[in-house]
Structures are given as structure tokens and as C-alpha cells.
């Protein structure tokens, strides 16, 4: 676990869309993560979503910088027997205040935030209400003719 934290925290990422810049930012920003922050990472990672995913990757040496860092940092991907693992940590004045698990999709190798990933859901699990509580209906664009038989027309006519 300690190794995972070290490996993760030592790298700073800004997301998949800046992939080309990732390497450069890793090198420049990694050094700004202070040793104090790394030290607390071991504890913080214990509460991450994949506590049993012991990594085999060796920790990347992070240079100790005198100034306390702040910001959100994405760790590097650690390959485990459970699959790729990546965490993101938020550091305020050298202390980790939040650790979030980032998950990797199997295809493409991009990270996906678990916190907002679309996942399978049963129809009974979506938010539902009586149509009387609804003022508008969103659907694939209807034509002028299609409107006449649409739920929206019913709502408009009823002036809910």
C-alpha cells in the first residue's frame, strides 16, 4: 500500500485529453509534491477503493521540495492483478485532504472517474415521478406532425 501511494502521488496528470503533455507535467510537477505529502499518502490510500490491489510497480522517486504543495494530483497507473489502478489525491498545504479512485477502462487505457461513470441501472432504479409533475419531456427530436401525438403535446394541452 505504501508503494502504491508513493508511485501514485509521485506523478501528476491533468487528464486523458492532455495525454501528450502528461510526461512533461509529470516531471515538472512531481517535484513539487513535498515529502510530507507523500508520507500521509500511505494512510490516505488505505481508504481508497482498491485497498487490496497491491502494486508491483516500484515507487518513483519524488524529490522533496521545501514548499508545501496544494492541488489535485493524478497518480500514475499501477498494474495489479485486479487490473490497472490509479488514484487522484487532493493536497492542501502539504496534507492530503482527499483520495479518489480513478478506474481504467479495459479498452483504450483511459482513466474514467468512478464518481461520474455511467453504469448499468435497472429501470426501477432511475428517478421517476408521475407525469403530472413533469412540465417538459426530452426526447429525440420530433417533427411538427410527431408533436401532435407526443407526450409533450399532452402536457402542453393539459397545461401542467
Amino acid at each position: 500500500m505504501t508503494l502504491a501511494a508513493l508511485a501514485s502521488v509521485s506523478v501528476v496528470g491533468v487528464g486523458w485529453q492532455l495525454g501528450a503533455q502528461l510526461t512533461a507535467s509529470q516531471q515538472t510537477l512531481a517535484t513539487s509534491v513535498p515529502a510530507a505529502a507523500i508520507g500521509t499518502a500511505a494512510t490516505a490510500t488505505g481508504t481508497a477503493a482498491t485497498p487490496s490491489a497491491a502494486p508491483s510497480a516500484a515507487p518513483t522517486a519524488a524529490a522533496a521540495a521545501p514548499a508545501a504543495a496544494s492541488g489535485t494530483f493524478d497518480g500514475s497507473v499501477v498494474h495489479t492483478r485486479f487490473g490497472p489502478v490509479q488514484v487522484s489525491v487532493t493536497i492542501a498545504n502539504g496534507t492530503i485532504t482527499e483520495v479518489m479512485a480513478l478506474q481504467l477502462t479495459n479498452d483504450g487505457g483511459r482513466s474514467v472517474m468512478i464518481s461520474n461513470q455511467a453504469a448499468p441501472i435497472l429501470r426501477s432504479e432511475v428517478l421517476a415521478a408521475q407525469s403530472a409533475q413533469v412540465q417538459n419531456v426530452s426526447g429525440a427530436t420530433y417533427t411538427t406532425g410527431g408533436y401532435l401525438t407526443s407526450l409533450q403535446a399532452a402536457l402542453d394541452a393539459a397545461q401542467f
Partner: protein
């Protein structure tokens, strides 16, 4: 892509009436434009003069966008460009701005959303309706109206409350039974826009730029802070499939409800009961 007739089997009785010319109140106003129907609602009582002013403003905005960008109109500026009668460099700033915005979204979606149709036609309809909704919302705001909803053919933008202290609530249509809603979503700051794309109503009007295969999704709804983002991403996710879905949810503050081909659902956490 001719408009297809409506799907049969909905439960609306044939004599269901639209009431476009109603008087004062909070009921819906309707305007026909861009080949669809716009519904305008107010969250509190608005006097008849203000309702008419709102209707005129929205009608004017949509009419202007339609006149410039409709591919169903031979005399639209975009049709003239597509016929080669007008160069893009000679086009109006409004058209060039719109094209630039569409190209921005092409880049943001890794090319999944594109104004360049497979047959070579420059088609800005992927952003035009949403831009018109956005501008119409601005027009309502300029009239001093702070509580309203605008639904243009299934894409909804709201402001304020649907009644004092109550958020606007939108249903998301069930693509398997258009008389029913699949889910309901609250539209309130910061996510006050929802758009839905699918292939059920107008045929396969989304041109896939990827491998050309059928979309894994039958319908995709996106809640976003603005209607352009919602509309573009709903379209892009249909075209780009799971990769675009995941990229969208991790990049933008959005909620997504996708209906797969087999009728099962995918939803972001914010849409769970």
C-alpha cells in the same frame, strides 16, 4: 433525411389539442419552427402582453436561425454555400461563428461530432437548434422573464422555478413507448439543460463518423449547464458509443442516461433514485 411520420402506438387520443393561442396564465405557448414545435412555459403568471412578447421574441430568434442555416431551404445562406454559390470567406460572421463553434466541438469530441457530412455537405444542424434555444432564452431574459422553460423538439432549457420554490422537472421519453417517460430529472442550476438524441423519431439522422456501425445506444439524454453542450454530447455519444460516453462524463459536468439497443439503461450516479 426527410422527416418521418410519427410513431404509431402512442396513447394520445387523436383529438388531443394544442392550445397555442391561450390567454394569460402559466400554460404553454407553442411555436412551430425548424420543422418542430417549441413549447414555452412560464413559472409564474405572465400577463397576456408579456406572453405575446415572449412568443414573438422566440419566434423571431428561431426564424432567423432557420432562415440562415436550414438545409431544407434553398435560399438559406448555408444552402448557398453548399451549392458553391457563396464561399465561406464571404459568409456572414454569424455563419462563420457557428461553423467555428461546430469545429470546436469536433475537436472536443475527437472528431465524433462533426459538421462535415459523409456526403460532403456542410451541416450545422447539430448546433443550430441548441444555439437558437440559447439565444431565445437570452431574449426571454431580456424581456425580464426569469422563470421559464423552452422545449424545442425535445431539447429543454429552463430558468428559475416552475412555480415559486419548485424546480422544473423534465421527463425523459421512453424510446420504446413514447407515451411514457423513462425517468424524470430536475432541471436546476447548475444543470438546467437536457437534450436527447436517438434514431427512433427522425430516422438515422446522426451520421456516424466512426466505424460506420450502428450505435450501441438507441437513445442518449445529457443534462448539462447549457443546451449546446447537452445537445452536442447527446449526439456525439450516439455516434461515438461507449468511448465517447465515458470521455464525456469525465470531461464535462454532465449527467447521462443512455438506452441501449436491448432496452437496458446506463446512468450516471446523479440520475439514480
Amino acid at each position: 433525411m426527410p422527416p418521418s411520420s410519427s410513431r404509431p402506438g402512442t396513447v394520445m387520443p387523436p383529438d388531443a389539442r394544442v392550445s397555442p393561442e391561450d390567454g394569460a396564465g402559466t400554460g404553454a405557448l407553442t411555436v412551430t419552427s425548424m420543422g418542430t414545435v417549441l413549447s414555452i412555459r412560464f413559472g409564474r403568471t405572465v400577463d397576456p402582453a408579456a406572453r405575446e412578447a415572449a412568443r414573438d421574441a422566440v419566434t423571431r430568434v428561431f426564424g432567423r436561425w432557420d432562415a440562415r442555416f436550414s438545409l431544407y431551404r434553398d435560399d438559406s445562406e448555408l444552402s448557398r454555400i453548399n451549392r458553391g454559390e457563396l464561399r465561406l470567406t464571404q459568409a456572414s460572421p454569424a455563419l462563420r461563428d457557428c461553423y467555428a463553434l461546430a469545429l470546436d466541438w469536433r475537436d472536443r469530441t475527437d472528431g465524433v461530432f462533426t459538421p462535415h457530412r459523409a456526403d460532403g455537405v456542410l451541416d450545422l444542424s447539430g448546433v443550430v437548434k441548441a444555439l437558437a434555444i440559447d439565444e431565445a432564452g437570452g431574449a426571454l431574459h431580456a424581456l425580464g422573464l426569469g422563470d421559464w422553460s423552452l422545449n424545442a423538439g425535445g431539447d429543454v432549457l429552463v430558468a428559475g422555478d416552475q412555480a415559486p420554490g419548485l424546480d422544473w422537472v423534465a421527463g425523459i421519453v421512453d424510446p420504446e413507448d413514447r407515451a411514457r417517460t423513462l425517468a424524470v430529472v430536475t432541471l436546476a442550476l447548475p444543470l438546467r439543460a437536457v437534450a436527447t438524441s436517438g434514431s427512433a423519431e427522425r430516422g438515422d439522422h446522426i451520421w456516424s463518423s466512426g466505424n460506420g456501425g450502428a450505435s450501441p445506444y438507441r437513445q442518449v439524454s445529457v443534462l448539462a449547464r447549457d443546451i449546446v453542450t447537452a445537445d452536442v454530447l447527446a449526439t456525439a455519444i450516439i455516434a461515438g458509443g461507449e468511448a465517447t460516453l465515458n470521455r464525456s462524463t469525465e470531461t464535462w459536468p454532465v449527467e447521462v442516461l443512455a438506452v441501449l439497443r436491448d432496452g437496458s439503461l446506463l446512468a450516471t450516479p446523479g440520475l439514480r433514485a
